[in-house]
């Protein structure tokens, strides 16, 4: 039985994807912030933004897409699972790509704060736009319009907390840099 040199990287990558996916599921289903209109917004976008800033595009895309997809399945919204997989996957991927662009070394979270905000705003547009199109196809573009402000609020909170949490985790747990692939 031969063990390839890349097996360590493969194991680490799989572990990263699995744990971050599970974290997205927990933050989607358990952590909810009440809104003034007696509704709730989930904090899945915080983990997606955090994953994008610390672990790059592919990890963020898989963790974000798979995590929200699983949360939809568990939460009783199975019809949304494939759509969430694509929308949140694209959100994580784009946030990380923009945050990482032009960065010579370190994690994307080390980038200039303005670049992180820009990346987050693009993520917000992708998320809100993606759900508008998906909702439009599923139950009509008129009804889907109603969800845009809530989706923007949720992803906006995700970006703000995502940036803050990324910085806090980099300070509280420096070995996280060694996990970044």
């Amino acid at each position: 039985m031969k063990s390839t040199d890349s097996s360590k990287m493969t194991a680490l990558r799989i572990a990263l994807m699995a744990v971050l996916t599970a974290t997205v599921v927990v933050f989607t289903l358990m952590v909810r912030v009440p809104t003034p209109i007696k509704g709730y917004i989930s904090l899945c976008d915080v983990v997606i933004t955090f994953s994008a800033f610390l672990f790059g595009p592919w990890i963020a895309a898989i963790a974000g897409g798979l995590g929200t997809g699983i949360a939809d399945l568990i939460g009783g919204y199975a019809q949304w699972a494939p759509l969430s997989f694509v929308i949140h996957g694209a959100q994580g991927l784009l946030i990380a790509v923009i945050a990482r662009s032009g960065l010579a070394s370190g994690v994307p979270g080390d980038a200039n704060i303005l670049k992180l905000i820009l990346a987050g705003v693009v993520g917000m547009v992708v998320m809100a736009g993606g759900y508008y199109i998906a909702g439009g196809v599923l139950y009509g573009f008129e009804a889907a319009l109603v969800e845009i402000p809530l989706n923007l609020l949720q992803s906006g909170v995700g970006v703000v907390l995502g940036i803050a949490v990324s910085r806090a985790v980099l300070k509280a747990y420096p070995p996280v840099r060694s996990l970044s692939l």
């Binding site: 358990m30 798979l66 009509g140 949490v165 985790v169 509280a172 996990l179």
Partner: protein, 257 residues
């Protein structure tokens, strides 16, 4: 936190092979977007609801409607207002509240949304997660992707428990404020340290998991063994044939007769 979506029940859907059932779900979800008669769409919704009722019970069968009730209300309120053309049925002064075309469109949208919701939910209720994973593997999902999926399901309860403990610990720091007095501001102030601590706990488990995977042989070139296989009673071909026949018969009945 319970991660299983499987609901124990009875009937054909529990015997139907997970691979064939997945194909039926896909075909039916595509079918509702094709030009099908409204009676056909509602028959599909009724058949899905009755299947859910027979497989589980009435209360459980109503569950999908409860989860999408808010969206249904929004659809009923907003869709008719945006269609002004056609025969006006209800008018408020000069403003047409509902036209015939708007109601036809609303009818199709509601039936389609309910149909997709029931079809997908029924698949999740009647198929154990391990079988779904094996079905996806049969359709070409890589070993590594299936492993990520399985591990994620294993880790959800662990991370959920850790999060709950951290949340309780942070709440104790404000022990002078009773639960009844805790406002949104208190909860929001607790959020940042709780979220940071929960993420650090999750991140600390990653190197251990990676080492465990290596020790279990991940990366070795020998073929992986599987303890569980999907068995289709009566043969997989029969189940796959049924998976194509169900949507086809449905389509033919409601579009040619």
């Amino acid at each position: 936190m319970t991660t299983s979506t499987f609901v124990a029940g009875r009937g054909f859907l529990y015997i139907f092979d997970a691979r064939a059932k997945l194909f039926t779900v896909l075909l039916l979800c595509v079918m509702v977007f094709l030009p099908i008669r409204q009676t056909g769409l509602w028959t599909l919704v009724a058949a899905s609801f009755l299947s859910a009722w027979y497989a589980t019970d009435f209360k459980q069968a109503l569950q999908p409607i409860k989860t999408i009730l808010f969206v249904l209300v929004i659809m009923i309120l907003f869709t008719p207002l945006t269609y002004r053309d056609g025969e006006v049925l209800v008018r408020l002064g000069q403003f047409p509240l509902a036209t015939k075309e708007a109601l036809v469109n609303l009818n199709i949208l509601v039936a389609r949304f309910l149909g997709i919701t029931y079809i997908c939910t029924l698949y999740m209720w009647t198929t154990p997660m391990a079988d779904i994973n094996l079905a996806l593997r049969w359709y070409g999902l890589s070993y590594h992707a299936a492993l990520v999926l399985t591990l994620a399901f294993r880790f959800v309860p662990y991370i959920a428990d850790s999060f709950r403990m951290i949340q309780d610990s942070h709440a104790l720091r404000n022990a002078t404020v009773s639960d009844g007095e805790r406002t949104g501001r208190h909860r929001l102030a607790d959020l940042m340290p709780t979220v940071t601590a929960a993420l650090v706990v999750a991140l600390k488990s990653i190197p251990h998991l990676a080492m465990s995977l290596e020790h279990r042989g991940l990366g070795r070139e020998t073929k992986r063994t599987s303890y569980r296989r999907l068995v289709a009673k009566g043969g997989l071909f029969t189940h796959l044939l049924l998976s194509v026949m169900i949507p086809t018969v449905f389509w033919l009945v409601f579009n040619t007769l």
